[in-house]
Structure formats: structure tokens, C-alpha cells
Symmetry: C2
Subunit: 314 residues, 2 copies
């Protein structure tokens, strides 16, 4: 654990759920002398100011980062390169720059060439969130007990890595370091693919014929209701994730489809033993995850105790 992080001026470029929640924690913990928010939309900045997420706000990214010792890019991932280009003229040489995007390879590739001091950039991904978005969705303690993955490059300065690590540890996150490529492989399976599947099946149900469709929504049971929550996540963010992590997502999707077709065949041919064996295995996996303390819901993040589980209805 590093020393608690403190900054004279923090610039948050993009002020949605993640950067907004980070702002709440930094405010509460007195981690920043001043927080400056930037957004393309004046309305977003007014909301952020109204909620006290920042001290100043501007639609000019270069202006926002001027004099900042920490810059956090919190936009959809496909905008990261453009943001880097926009802030470059305002950046101090010693300012540490990081981001919070869910894809790391494409972000590192887009951002590095835009910066005069690429050693000061350390890409990061706090693996936390909700299905809500925008500054009004920001909550305290969002990162507590969650992982943040940092993906520095060989060019990254050691002290910049330590600074970003300290930022996330101070707001309660556990920090792990890996390569951007490895991050994207892991997250493709653990997050991107499940979201893709949820978006897909909710779309499938919505396409059902009128009466059946109505009834499916009326009797929406545990399994499907969980999927609709996941499929309520921010459209722009997720479009960018799938297009920016295309190779790993398509690879995972290929594996999933093969397995689903095998399962389909087992149902068609009444292979009850194969079904039972798979379901027994997946039940044991859940036990392992619960024991590993990963299966925490929102309440756990806030209250530091195991979450109330949603029900899955049969």
C-alpha cells in the first residue's frame, strides 16, 4: 500500500459515473486542493457543479488540465485519443495522466502518440460501476474492495505508476498491474462477453410477437430481470468497448457459441447426464467465487458486508 494520495489540482476530463464517483471520494477524503471538470456538454458540467463534484468546470479540455498535477480521462474509450490530443497543449510536463476505460490496448495506442511526455501516462481501469451513467449516477465508495488494473508500458515512469496506484488505493481499491493485452483478454471474458450476451437476449425478447412479448416482460423472472439490468448499461460506453476490444470479444464469443451449441445438442438428444454434470460444475464455481469474496453487490461496496442477493426465480 502506498502513502495516501494528495494532489494540488486534479483535472477530470469527462465527468460521468466513474470520474464523478472518484470526485466524491476525493472530496470526502480531502485528496485534492481543487477539482476541475471538463466535458463537451455544458449541461453535464452544470449537473456536476450542482452536485459539488468539482470546483470549476470548462468545456475546454486544455484549459481544464492547466496546472493540474493529476489528469484522469473518463470518457468512452474511443474518445481517449482525441481527448489526449486536446489536452496536450495544456499539460504540465510533470502532470501524471491516467484513464478509467474498460479497454486498455486501444486506449494506450491512441493516447501515447499524442503526449509530449508519454512516460507520465499510466492507463488504468477501476473494475467497478453500475448500470447508471452520467454525473448524477456518481456515488461514494464505488471503488472500495474492487480491483483497479493498471497497464503501464515500458515507457511509464515509476513515480507516475506509484502515483496512480496511490490514487486508487486511497479510495479503497486493490491494485493489480498487467499488460494492456492481458487486461483486454481477461475483461473480454469476465465483463465484455456477459454484457454482449445480456444486450443480445434482451433484444431477442423485445423482438417477440406482441402478446408473447408482453407476457415475457410481465412475468420477467430472476434470470431475465438480471439480464435486463446488465443490458441497461450506457450505450455509448459499450459500443466503444466492443469495437475497441474486437479481437478478444470475438474470440470469447466464438468459444461461448461453440459451447452453447453443444448444450443445445445435449437438450435435443436428452443427454440429462451431460446437463447435470455441467450444472454441478457451474454451481461449484459460484461457491469458489463467493468464497473468494468476489460476489459482492452494491451494499457490500458501501457497507463492507456481504450483499443481499437478488433472487433468481425458477
Amino acid at each position: 500500500m502506498s502513502a495516501a494520495a494528495g494532489f494540488d489540482r486534479v483535472a477530470l476530463v469527462g465527468i460521468g459515473l466513474i470520474n464523478g464517483s472518484l470526485a466524491r471520494d476525493m472530496k470526502r477524503q480531502g485528496m485534492a486542493g481543487e477539482i476541475v471538470a471538463a466535458s463537451r456538454r455544458r449541461e453535464t458540467l452544470d449537473t456536476a457543479l450542482g452536485l459539488g463534484l468539482c470546483d470549476r468546470a470548462t468545456t475546454d479540455p486544455a484549459e481544464a488540465v492547466r496546472g493540474a498535477d493529476l489528469v484522469v480521462i473518463g470518457t468512452p474509450v474511443r474518445a481517449a485519443g482525441e481527448v489526449a490530443r486536446a489536452i496536450a497543449p495544456g499539460l504540465s510536463p510533470e502532470a501524471v495522466v491516467t484513464d478509467v476505460g474498460s479497454v486498455k490496448g486501444a486506449v494506450v495506442e491512441a493516447v501515447l502518440p499524442e503526449l509530449s511526455h508519454p512516460g507520465r501516462f499510466v492507463a488504468g481501469h477501476p473494475v467497478a460501476g453500475t448500470e447508471h451513467s452520467g454525473p448524477a449516477a456518481a456515488i461514494e465508495h464505488l471503488f472500495r474492495h474492487r480491483w483497479t488494473i493498471l497497464t503501464p508500458t515500458e515507457a511509464s515512469d515509476e513515480d507516475a505508476i506509484a502515483t496512480v496506484r496511490g490514487l486508487w488505493e486511497t479510495v479503497g481499491s486493490r491494485v493489480e498491474v498487467m499488460t494492456p493485452e492481458h487486461h483486454d483478454q481477461v475483461l473480454a471474458m469476465t465483463s465484455h462477453l456477459p454484457h454482449l450476451i445480456a444486450f443480445s437476449i434482451v433484444g431477442t425478447v423485445d423482438d417477440l410477437e406482441g402478446h408473447l412479448r408482453q407476457e415475457v416482460f410481465k412475468f420477467a423472472a430472476g434470470g431475465f430481470t438480471d439480464f435486463t439490468r446488465i443490458a441497461a448499461s450506457d450505450p455509448t460506453m459499450w459500443r466503444d468497448v466492443f469495437l475497441s476490444n474486437k479481437d478478444a470479444v470475438l474470440e470469447g464469443l466464438g468459444r461461448f457459441t461453440e459451447d452453447l451449441i453443444a448444450l443445445q445438442r445435449q437438450i435435443r438428444w436428452d443427454d440429462g447426464d451431460a446437463l447435470f454434470d455441467l450444472f454441478t460444475k457451474t454451481r461449484a464455481i459460484r461457491r469458489g467465487i463467493v468464497e473468494a469474496g468476489q460476489a459482492y453487490g452494491r451494499r457490500a461496496v458501501i457497507d463492507d458486508e456481504p450483499a443481499v442477493k437478488d433472487q433468481t426465480a425458477p
Copy 2:
């Protein structure tokens, strides 16, 4: 709403999550003079007796139903026919018989021919549950604010239908009547298919190569963690559901696979607009469900207030 249900003797054949939770509510509300539980396994009965879910317990189904005015079959659905055959010798002519299975067509087909008084049988499905199973998983208020779907046949006596309706309404459930076939179509989409997908993807991840597999479980994020919970549901119950509702599940799976492949193609060809449109649509669907009051989690079932949502991490 019918009058509150009351019974002299209730026989619960199978005493797992659903029948056990029903027993808790009946006990609390004084709905039954005596509750008799039957199970093939002595150990299950000892647990049920120890938890006070029943007053008497027996491994003989015919003995359990003797003198009962209500019989609730709560076994995995493929055992329902066998159970009906086993209880037939002990049933009073006027006893009302129902079940709680997640598939209705196959259950009705298997049970009716075994009963001397088929007009007394009214199949039912309380659309409620958790990923846990067995009598120790039984909880109070499981059915409150949830739907119970009844699927009587043309042979069903009106007073038997009213009795089963009264049973579920008394424990707080909303009751809807439809045909077994329609029930199975609706539930295939809203519950069976989501469970199948969750079982499948958790299996896919478990098959990953060693290091990547470990990391996926370590960094398991919101989307995937939700899936592991759904995929922790009872293996025997779900094997039976998929095999007993094969046609509707395969039909739903076919639609889902087509849509997923279309989505795969959109990602491969960078069709960001199509992705954005789908995700915008699915987000709106969630809003509709939340507004319709369907998106309640466990806390809502117990506390009658909106659930704390799990987080879905990006």
C-alpha cells in the same frame, strides 16, 4: 382476491426451497392444522423437521397424503408423474392436488393419467426462488409480490382452482391463469433461456487455459458475477426443466443464437450505429420493467421496498 386459505392437513411431497418456503408461510399464518412432509431422503426430512417446516415426516408418499385436504408436489418436474402414481393410493377423493414445477405441459401430461380424480388437480408455478436449494434454503415471504401461474385443464374443478388460487394469494402472490403450453412458451424466454445461457458461459470460462481462467475468476466483474449466481441454481431441477420444456427452449435458443450472430457480425464490421441502437433499445426496456415493478430483488420480497441493485461493473 379469494378468502384466506385454511387447511386441516397439508401434504408437501418434496420439501426443498419452494415447498419449504411455502411451509414457513403457512406456519406463520396458521394456514394448516398439520403439515406432513414426504421425501425420498430421510436426511432431508430430518432437516425439515429440525427447522420446524413440518409436523410429521415420512419417506412414504401415500402415507404422507392420507387424510390431507391439500397436496403440493414440490419435486423436480420429471419426477412429478412418478410422485402422482405413488400418492394415488393414499389420496382422499376430495383432496386438492397441485404442484410448483417450472414446466407445466409435461407435468400435466404426466400427472393427470395417474389420478383417480383428475378434476382435483390444478398445476401451478410460483415464479419465485433463489439460487439455493433444499429445506435449509427455505425462507419466509418468498412468494410475496411475485406471480404464481396456474394452468388448470378443462377437467379441473372450479372449486379446486379457487382453492389453489386462495393458497397462493394468502402467502402474498399475484395469481394468473393460462394454458400449460402458453406458460411453457413464456417461461422458456423469461427464465429457462437466461438460465441456459448463464450455465453455458460459466462453463466456457471454466474451460479457459489455466492462467487466464484464474484471472477471470479473480477479476470477476458485475456481469459475470451475476451469471455465476444464476448458474449456481439446482442441477437436478434445471436438467429436468430443459428436458421437459425442450421444444420451447430450443425455439428460444434458435432465436437468441441468430441475434447473437448478427451482433457478432456488427462488431466484426465496426457497425457502431447498429450496436448503439440495440443498446439504447435494451436500456429503455429495463426502464419499462423497473417501472412495471418487476425488477424487485430479494430485499423487496422481504421488505416490500425497491431492491438494492447489484452493481454491474464495466
